[in-house]
């Protein structure tokens, strides 16, 4: 009996995988049904739908990169403190001191790559007309995922707290100041007032909400950190679950009928 067989026949193995190796048709079906991760998939799919030249694997890669970002991100949280005192030096230490400093590179380049793969995924869904009925709603879920992915990248950009970071966020968040009605330099904002007191000023407008202050500061860092590490990833995770669920409920990956 080979070692492989010995392991596969042990009680431990059998308690985890409740069926023989997926070598025949029956067990290839069973493996998909008894594994919580695999059962994200259906048991069988249309052949055209899983061709690499059809999906470009871009949705899958986006999901994979999201997982990479989650793992590397959690590890990075051990090294990084979101305060004016520590933030920059912690990142510096990742480069110069920390053994696993490459985590930062993986996390940053993974994030860039995810933005590219999500665009390409959207592009392929468009080109194959896969947003058409019955998949309209899943396309909309996708667009929200796109927004959240960009926001994830954007909030993460601030965390190194270097010149690149704060000025990029300053440029980006200055837009909020100009939101119609909600930004204090936005059209219509001066109209919103009670008596003589204007409701929208630099201490109450959309940018203030985003930054937690009138300019990019330590409060902004905290705000972006919480959004980046907790709030947005949770929202993305929930939406990805809906997205995958709907891919299956809408009849699996699209194909010519």
């Amino acid at each position: 009996m080979s070692v492989g067989d010995y392991i596969r026949n042990s009680q431990v193995w059998k308690s985890i995988f409740r069926h023989p190796a997926p070598r025949d048709r029956r067990n290839r079906v069973v493996v998909m049904l008894t594994n919580v991760f695999l059962h994200l998939h259906p048991v069988s799919v249309r052949k055209s739908g899983i061709a690499l030249s059809y999906t470009w694997c871009m949705g899958g890669l986006t999901f994979f990169l999201f997982l990479v970002e989650t793992v590397t991100g959690v590890l990075l949280m051990f090294y990084y403190r979101p305060t004016l005192e520590h933030a920059y030096n912690d990142i510096l230490a990742l480069r110069d001191v920390t053994t696993l400093g490459v985590l930062r590179e993986l996390h940053r380049w993974g994030a860039h790559a995810m933005v590219i793969t999500i665009w390409l995924h959207m592009y392929r869904v468009f080109l194959t007309g896969s947003y058409k009925p019955p998949r309209e709603f899943n396309w909309s879920v996708g667009v929200i995922l796109l927004v959240l992915t960009l926001l994830l990248s954007f909030t993460g950009y601030l965390l190194p707290w270097d010149q690149l970071a704060i000025w990029a966020i300053t440029v980006g968040s200055n837009m909020a100041r100009a939101s119609p009605f909600l930004g204090y330099e936005g059209p219509g904002a001066t109209l919103l007032k009670v008596g003589d007191v204007s409701l929208i000023h630099s201490g109450s407008d959309a940018r203030f909400l985003l930054l937690g202050g009138r300019f990019v500061s330590g409060d902004t860092l905290l705000r972006f950190y919480v959004l980046h590490c907790v709030a947005i990833p949770l929202a993305v995770a929930v939406l990805i679950a809906i997205h995958f669920w709907r891919v299956r409920k809408d009849g699996g990956i699209s194909g010519a009928l």
């Binding site: 950009y157 059209p187 001066t190 699209s254």
Partner: protein, 452 residues
Amino acid sequence: MLLFGQGQIGPEPFARPNEIGEDPVFHHQHLDASTQTGVGVFYLLIVLMNLGFAAYWFYNRRDRKQANIWIVVALVFLIHAAAYLFHAGWILPAFIRNAVDDFIGPVTYFMLSLVLFILFIYYRKGCTEPPVAWGILNISLLASGWAITDSNFRSIITKEDNVPIVLLIFSVGFFTWLGMRKAVVNDERMARGEPPLEKLEDEKVLVWPDLVYTELICMVIATFILVIWGVVLKAPLEQPATSAKAPNPSKAPWYFLGLQEMLVYYDPWMAGVVLPTMILVGLIAIPYIDFNQKGNGYYSFNERKVAIVTFNFGFIVLWVTLIVLGTFLRGPNWNFFGPFEYWDPHKVLPLNNVNLSDMFWLGLMGRVFEEGKDWFLRELPGIILVVLYMAALPPLLAKTVLKPFYVRMGFVRFFVLVTLIQFMAALPIKMVLRWTMNLKYIVYIPEYFFNI
């Protein structure tokens, strides 16, 4: 910021070659050894790619002519590879660089991308033939290889955070080709009355092993690429943040640079809030306004011409190429710089843009308005134009050119569609007005921060 390669001993960095007749930058510019080796390896990879392509034609397609062509191309690249690996130090001649810099500007750049886009759509059949597409790829790789010998170009393109955009350019190029190629093939099949290729494979296969193994391989390759990328290229870290000194240029993260580029033409409330919102609303609305039931689940162009051209125009011309513009060609003070031009923070461009109200009242009627008075009358011409554009154009279109659409789409769908397209067109319209008549604002009401 590193602006010149090592060994640069020009008289003073601001001297632009063609301003002083002679070309100090060119004579003193040389490539250091490691850059040359890098470029050499780059060419060597292209040699291998072309040999592979030649082998494909020779063994798989039994086409000697094609195989010979690509062997010759491989030889051309081999000569380049040898030259750089042996450190011959070839640099793109200054007159070419100057000619490119002089030719390219915001207008020519945008028009060029638009023309290329139209040509690609029109000649999609020819462009996507594998040998043609491969030739285009080779040309763009050769151009990149030549360009990177210029130290100004190199310093911008190799900035760590700009590397993803190089990746973006090539991957968008590749997938645009792939998608269009599959569409062309399917269109030809359907014209002959055959079903699209996807239809031939509509039998069911088991996810284990067919899909899970593909996924596994994709994950392994992705991990591999990411780790190499992470080890080779350090994540950037600049000086600690200080609100005292803003870098010039201050750029948003690269994926927002298309929006930052719109700031040239529109105020922040439009470029940063309204237009992005419309992009998102528009994207979400796509499935609900595209009433064409054909082309669902397979690549096709002919069955969905309007949809595909519109989306491609938005994605490729207005989004991706503007990101490329914002990243590589916008320097200090958001001025435009040619790809080989030194990013001179003192470059001054005359700003002589005029508001529509001034053109109308001052230019035509000879009337001057007092500061802050009668803004409604002053801006009336612009307001009328905007109202006409937004409110009168859609019904007009519904009655005339777009009548067939209106009839088939119904009221709500049609107006949502036209409104979205109007917002999308707002950018190119303002661009053209700016370039042709130096128009600054169509409506200018600073009293309410309402400038269009």
